[in-house]
């Protein structure tokens, strides 16, 4: 069986897929890749099903040896990857020969880079998914980020993969956004019109304490016009909640399933991938769109992701 040897793990590298669904009644949220778009594209390039397990690297990538070789693709942000010293392009099928070493560095663009391998990373599924849930230490590779010395098994994959790369035109349309589009949240009416206007005009900075559970924003506070607590209710991925201090938190892939803070808005599904590429200190803004527009944008994105967007080299 082929394997990946972790020579250096990087800052925070975990095994992820598209997450688990249907366990909300037990308090288990979806988890999965922070930038699912990149994961899906990377998997397509190595001939995998879109939701196959891959490595998610954060801000600083790792160094990985491939004693038996492999077919890989890197997707997401540019971490300056080299294979035995030679630059490796993003969004391209790459054949790694036996004994070669892939080295990644600090990000040159967004927060996350995905290393997809033909066959996928072999882990024991937990509640139907191979994704790591860091907070509870469940799923993925022993429920934890990778460490130096870890050896990952690559699932056997039959057949050969055509070398392909992503069309630059498509890639251009999928560039992560800093203006995040939102629909109204279930407690939008807890905020005055002027608060909501301010919320859309303010520039927010991504806080250092942001993680896979939530993206904590810094900037001008938004104050609710209602006093008192609300009753805890289910919350959705991308919900923008306003805690008592007034600085928004965007609930993210490893989100809590329920919460008691009012939600002023919700980031649209088509912009979830962009959330996964936000780095601490990035500046962002919100822009409200209607329900139909949100849906149209998602459909458009799904169309782009259809296999036609991959061009044969």
């Amino acid at each position: 069986m082929k394997s990946i040897h972790v020579i250096a793990p990087g800052l925070l590298t975990t095994v992820q897929d598209l997450g688990r669904e249907g366990y909300g009644p037990m308090g288990v949220s979806r988890s999965g890749a922070a930038d699912a778009l990149s994961l899906r594209l990377g998997n397509q390039l190595v001939g995998n099903a879109e939701g196959t397990t891959a490595l998610e690297m954060t801000l600083l990538g790792g160094t990985f040896a491939f004693p038996e070789g492999a077919v890989i693709a890197l997707a997401g942000s540019d971490f300056g990857a080299t294979l035995d010293g030679e630059a490796v392009p993003l969004y391209t099928t790459v054949r790694v020969r036996e004994g070669q070493t892939l080295q990644l560095g600090s990000t040159r663009s967004g927060a996350r880079c995905y290393l997809c391998v033909q066959g996928g990373i072999q882990v024991k599924p937990f509640l139907g998914s191979g994704s790591t849930h860091l907070l509870s230490g469940l799923g993925g590779f022993d429920g934890r980020p990778l460490r130096k010395g870890d050896v990952l098994q690559i699932r056997h994959a039959a057949g050969s993969v055509r070398a392909r790369r992503l069309s630059p035109k498509v890639l251009k349309q999928l560039v992560p956004r800093k203006v995040l589009r939102t629909t109204p949240g279930p407690q939008s009416d807890w905020f005055s019109k002027s608060s909501i206007d301010a919320f859309c005009e303010n520039i927010y900075r991504v806080g250092e304490k942001s993680d896979r559970m939530g993206i904590r924003l810094e900037g001008q506070a938004v104050i609710s016009k209602r006093e008192g607590d609300m009753i805890s209710e289910g919350v959705s991925n991308g919900a923008v909640q306003i805690p008592p201090g007034g600085t928004p938190i965007i609930l993210f892939v490893e989100q809590q399933t329920t919460g008691g803070y009012p939600k002023i808005a919700n980031v649209i599904s088509a912009d979830f991938g962009s959330l996964g590429q936000l780095r601490p200190r990035d500046e962002i803004r919100f822009e409200q769109v209607g329900w139909n527009k949100a849906r149209a944008l998602l459909l458009e994105q799904e169309q782009l992701l259809s296999t036609k967007c991959l061009v044969v080299e």
């Binding site: 669904e21 249907g22 366990y23 909300g24 009644p25 037990m26 308090g27 288990v28 979806r30 937990f126 509640l127 849930h133 907070l135 509870s136 230490g137 469940l138 629909t183 109204p184 949240g185 279930p186 607590d229 009753i231 805890s232 209710e233 289910g234 919350v235 959705s236 991925n237 991308g238 919900a239 809590q256 399933t257 329920t258 919460g259 939600k263 919700n266 980031v267 649209i268 599904s269 329900w291 949100a294 849906r295 998602l298 459909l299 799904e302």
Partner: protein, 229 residues
């Protein structure tokens, strides 16, 4: 005339792929029962396109595949289903006993809770362990059960500054709720004890929505025995 079940239901678009259905805006046993029945109904008659359910005290957030379903369509499907809500049979509630070692290093906030309510530690422990609680729902993190019905004498606001890390097994109170932290998470509930019971293991939660729970006081020695078991 609208049936009471249909009359008190509110639908809200929570995101472009979720719908929030509420059975009132305060905790009540009636609303809780409807939440449970809706979960059961959707389990028995799954609606294609529904991906996940996040129950709360009196509501359920329904996450769906936006490529397959739209809010309006889901809403009309649910309205039809709601007519059958009354006839849904719920399984008999289980009674789960959770051993707790109260106070001292096991429950660092117990003295403050006692001081706020002018109670001795024994009285507070007696009050907390004398009630049978209802699991309103599981949420926040895997296996975290929101237990309602804390005795009035113990109703205490959250800590003004939440702890950044609460040890797993901590038994806390907040407002009129009580619960056990299954994992090391940040938390603002006041910690009065600790249980050796494991709340979430191998993908299974010790507690489920609708269960009844009693806390059983145990000694430090018994805690050590159970923790090693």
């Amino acid at each position: 005339m609208a049936t009471p079940a249909a009359g008190s239901v509110k639908f809200q678009n929570a995101s472009d792929q979720s719908l929030l259905i509420s059975f009132g805006d305060s905790f009540s046993l009636r609303a809780h029962e409807k939440v449970r029945k809706l979960l059961r109904l959707l389990e028995l008659e799954p609606v294609p396109g529904i991906r996940d359910l996040h129950p709360g005290y009196c509501s359920v957030l329904i996450r769906f595949d936006a490529l397959q379903l739209r809010h309006d369509k889901l809403k009309s499907l649910l309205q039809k289903l709601l007519h059958h809500l009354k006839s849904v049979a719920l399984p008999r509630p289980r009674l789960v006993e959770i051993p707790v070692c109260y106070g001292e290093e096991f429950g660092p906030d117990l003295p403050e809770v006692c001081a706020l309510h002018d109670l001795t530690a024994e009285q507070a422990i007696q009050l907390h362990s004398s009630k049978t609680y209802l699991v309103y729902f599981l949420g926040f993190v895997p296996g975290f059960a929101y237990l309602g019905g804390l005795p009035k004498e113990l109703v205490t606001p959250r800590l003004s500054a939440p702890r950044t890390k609460v040890p797993p097994g901590s038994v806390g109170i907040a407002g009129n709720q009580t619960g056990v932290y299954p994992f090391a998470t940040p938390g603002g509930w006041r910690l009065i004890g600790h249980t050796p019971a494991v709340m979430f293991r191998e993908g299974t939660s010790l507690l489920a929505i609708g269960d009844r729970v009693r806390f059983v006081p145990i000694s430090r020695e018994r805690f050590a025995e159970l923790e090693c078991a």
